[in-house]
Symmetry: C2
């Protein structure tokens, strides 16, 4: 399960983008990609798509307040992000609601993305709201995340217009923006062209500044770069982070040539809010969020006729094995059985088993089976030896060794059982190994050679679980009134009781626990799961063949 | 990357739930969990939380139309889901917009969740809209998904009030609902108690009906159920699906005792829309969506003071290796190197390498190195033999064999090189194996024994890539003006040229391609990736130790 424990909840207060690429839609997708629970207060609806904003319907301020109140009075929120606030009334309302709700308790991390104008040029914040944003909201904020245009707009409200065109301009603008009262400022450099020369010049001129390189090739990576035209990527994007505690950082990334940039700002600020909700420092949060956003652009599918959205889901994949719950304690094993339901039934309800339960199984069949099982158990024990060799923990080594000892005990039972059927030890040893036995035994060793411990355990489980199932099933059936299973006077009673008994069933439970624990600790990819299912199916088939062979011996 | 290729887009037309558990928020989370792109048209805003709906702000009808227009004129939509439509005007607007947009092309799958009343009793559809829903929207729908209360409300608008209390009632209600004109009806049984006896009675009375069991234990699973108090779960939830083509299905699931049910209906209908967008049949779509929703309830974190939301992210996990892109063709290898950057530098820029590049490396050091490397390469070749044994494709077997042949050629070069340093073949063979050589060589064999092919390849790559890197680095440095690397008269020139040469570099590229392909085809879980990083680090450390050993031989 992706959603983090303890659950981290993030609230976005922003506009809605009908096309799903920006606004609360981008925010909710980003929250989901970070495993955070998302709530959203909508300040305004927009009708927009990849080509532009076609209309805005602002939400009444009192309804903005009501939404905030509904969320905050009921849910524990770990971080808040604000986006498009649209007008003076709504901006005022957001500030007041936050102040009211957090009057007596600390405000969670607040990331304020000062959305002013859409990429397509549509006004998303009334000009008269700018002062309010600066005076009232910024002082509450952990971080503000303006881009070039927003920074220029914010700064020009106080001073003569400052055009930001260089990395030097960015540093000075960031410093001025910090004076507006937020705990930190991240000035995004997406619209400013920088090169490594600029970065080196700045970093040598500002000794305290921390340069965070991301997605760039380091030294000692000659080979990884051969074939890439690095000259195609001389342009860098540099984001500047200043914190009121004096820390300064540059985040340096290669520029991606892409039209899939709709919602980039929303995504970055949301991702930072998620990382802060999870307890990261502001610098780590910004670094991870920048990588997340960068990869979202790189991995985007082209969509729409204009600037398409990012791919917010680039880092997600689907878990194929459900979680263990009270009602479903062995979901992985259950999935294996259900994936081969017909075959599994043919194995555990084999005619051999039914005849054995009725006490009418021909002695030739049982005798052939027990002799071949004797040979098979040697392979089976050796496979557990391989499992011990593959285990990297003492626990794993111990349980493999214990399994071998259990098998040796099973062998003793076999010998005693054989003697009751007048097959002596020497006869057992001298019985030639049947091809079916070689097939199954060698297959276990092969799986043990080719894969890891879990794959081998899957192969070993079909036998371990199946015999336990047979023992339990026959015993359960025998307990019913007028049952077809006869225990009284059944020559195979001891065999049934052994597999239904506590000792064997305990071994099965240990095997189940081990495999379920492994499957959760190291959840398989779809390809790996398919491989495991293949192994399980092969082994179930080989089990069925084993009893087919015994039945054929009656001829 | 989770997002499906070709990209599947789903549009929800519904209300907004500020608390994030229902409405377009639940829809967008469900779309994301299914790897679908989500767009959303908002019909009304609600201020609500887990305890109830505190306010509704309907969106002006013309703005609903404008949102729909913005989305549909720009994006290719594969399925549409409608939820809360709130009033007559908005319902009318949705119907008209869909009819207008799909006048000349087929409407995508349309799942209509006839949301009427919230769980907490709040009216989410004005009563006078019901007729409109039935007359205008249902005939466009692929599926309608009422629950008990909604079905009763819909049916009572036409006939005397029909109370649905049994599975029989459900079947008859579903039939009547189908007459309203949708292509199918899914009547949800969450508020009706059924047992397996009911299901058996119904299915034997209706021979054509398909019973889909989900999450229930089948036969031959005695062991998996031991310890579960199955008697605690006698109650079933049965959903009934009727299609206008005559197909009828019952979806039978265990009832989950949970208060985390806020948004269940939104989630189910959204999940069905996703599955339909991906091309599944209605029955498969319903089956998968029901499992998804069921697991969302089972895996929910308790949230809020009332009915908490589902966990929409229960089946997601994070991919740890970024995608291969033009600028980042070897992301997995790059991640390995960057995770051990300092150690990697100490290896490929070892003093041994630098002295070798300058041509001043002491002969004792080189001689010791080349003799030990001769022993090491035997292990190295054997490890590739193990890799061949672990490969399940002819391609894997072939590339392992080719690697062995390359190593044998490297051995020939070593012999020739040794002769130029007056070390003859016999001397090479007779040199005792150093502990450092045994450590590295045996470690490779151990990794080969304990894990799968990919893990072994990770172990083999540190050597393969590192020597290629050294060769390329020295050659690149040598090409610079006034370089510290001297090729002219350097006794180790041939050694450098061999590793920088096309033949060796090609082998490195094949290794890189193989490992990157494997890492994408079978993406590792965080635990597995950590294991691989451990192997990589150990091998890098052993490589560094190998050259340390050579330098120590100078004493």
């Amino acid at each position: 399960m992706l959603m983090k424990t303890p659950l981290r909840s993030v609230l976005t207060i922003a506009g809605s983008d009908s096309s799903g690429g920006a606004g609360i839609q981008a925010d909710l997708k980003t929250f989901a990609a970070h495993g955070c629970y998302g709530a959203s207060v909508i300040t305004a609806l927009t009708a927009q798509n990849t080509q532009g904003v076609h209309g805005v319907h602002p939400c009444p301020p009192e309804f903005v307040a009501q939404q905030i109140h509904s969320v905050l009075e009921d849910l524990e929120i770990n971080a808040i992000k604000t986006g498009m606030l649209y007008d003076v009334e709504n901006t005022k309302q957001v500030v007041e609601s936050l102040k009211t709700h957090y009057k007596n308790k600390p405000l969670p991390s607040l990331v304020c993305d000062p959305v002013c104008v859409s990429t397509s040029g549509h006004t998303l914040l009334h000009p008269e709201s700018v002062e309010l944003l600066i005076d009232e909201l910024f002082p509450l904020a952990t971080l503000i995340t303006p881009n070039k245009a927003e920074a220029e707009l914010l700064l020009s409200s106080r001073n003569p217009f400052a055009d930001i065109t260089s990395l030097e301009d960015m540093l000075s603008a960031t410093e001025q923006l910090l004076s507006f009262g937020s705990a930190a400022v991240l000035l995004k450099g997406g619209h400013i062209t920088s090169t490594m020369t600029d970065v080196i010049r700045i970093s040598s001129g500002h000794p305290g500044i921390n340069v965070v390189r991301q997605g760039l090739y380091d030294e000692n990576m000659e080979i990884l770069q051969t074939g890439i035209d690095v000259a195609d990527h001389p342009e860098l994007v540099v984001d500047v982070l200043y914190q009121s505690n004096g820390k300064k950082s540059l985040f340096v990334m290669p520029r991606v040539d892409s039209t899939s940039t709709h919602g980039t700002g929303c995504t970055l600020s949301s991702a930072i809010a998620c990382e802060l909700a999870c307890g990261l420092t502001l610098e780590e949060a910004t670094k991870n969020a920048a990588v997340f956003t960068h990869m979202g652009i790189e991995a985007a599918h082209p969509m729409g006729k204009g600037h398409g959205p990012l791919n917010h889901l680039h880092s997600l994949t689907t878990l194929k094995i459900p979680q263990r719950t009270l009602y479903n304690p062995y979901p992985f094993t259950r999935m294996l059985i259900q994936s081969t339901a017909k075959l599994w039934k043919e194995y555990v309800e084999h005619d051999f088993v039914k005849r054995l339960g009725r006490g009418v199984l021909e002695i030739e069949a049982f005798s052939h089976f027990i002799r071949q099982d004797y040979h098979f158990l040697k392979y089976y024990a050796r496979a557990y030896g391989l499992l011990a060799a593959k285990s990297t923990s003492f626990l794993g080594i111990e349980s493999s060794a214990q399994a071998i000892l259990n098998i040796l005990q099973e062998i003793q039972t076999h010998r005693a059982l054989c003697e009751s059927f007048c097959i002596n030890f020497q006869e057992l040893e001298n019985t030639p190994e049947a091809t079916t036995t070689t097939a199954y035994g060698s297959y276990l060793i092969t799986v043990g050679l080719e894969g890891d411990a879990t794959k081998l355990l899957v192969a070993l489980m079909a036998c371990l679980l199946g015999y336990g199932e047979v023992g339990l099933w026959l015993t359960k059936e025998a307990s019913k009134e007028n049952s077809w299973v006869v225990m009284e006077g059944n020559p195979y009673k001891k065999w049934i009781e052994d597999y239904a008994g506590q000792h064997y069933q305990n071994a099965v439970k240990i095997g189940l626990e081990t495999i379920e624990t492994l499957a959760i600790a190291d959840p398989p990819s779809p390809a790996r799961l398919e491989e495991w299912r293949g192994v399980w199916e092969r082994c179930t088939r080989l089990e069925r063949a084993f009893w087919d062979m015994a039945m054929d011996a009656r001829k």
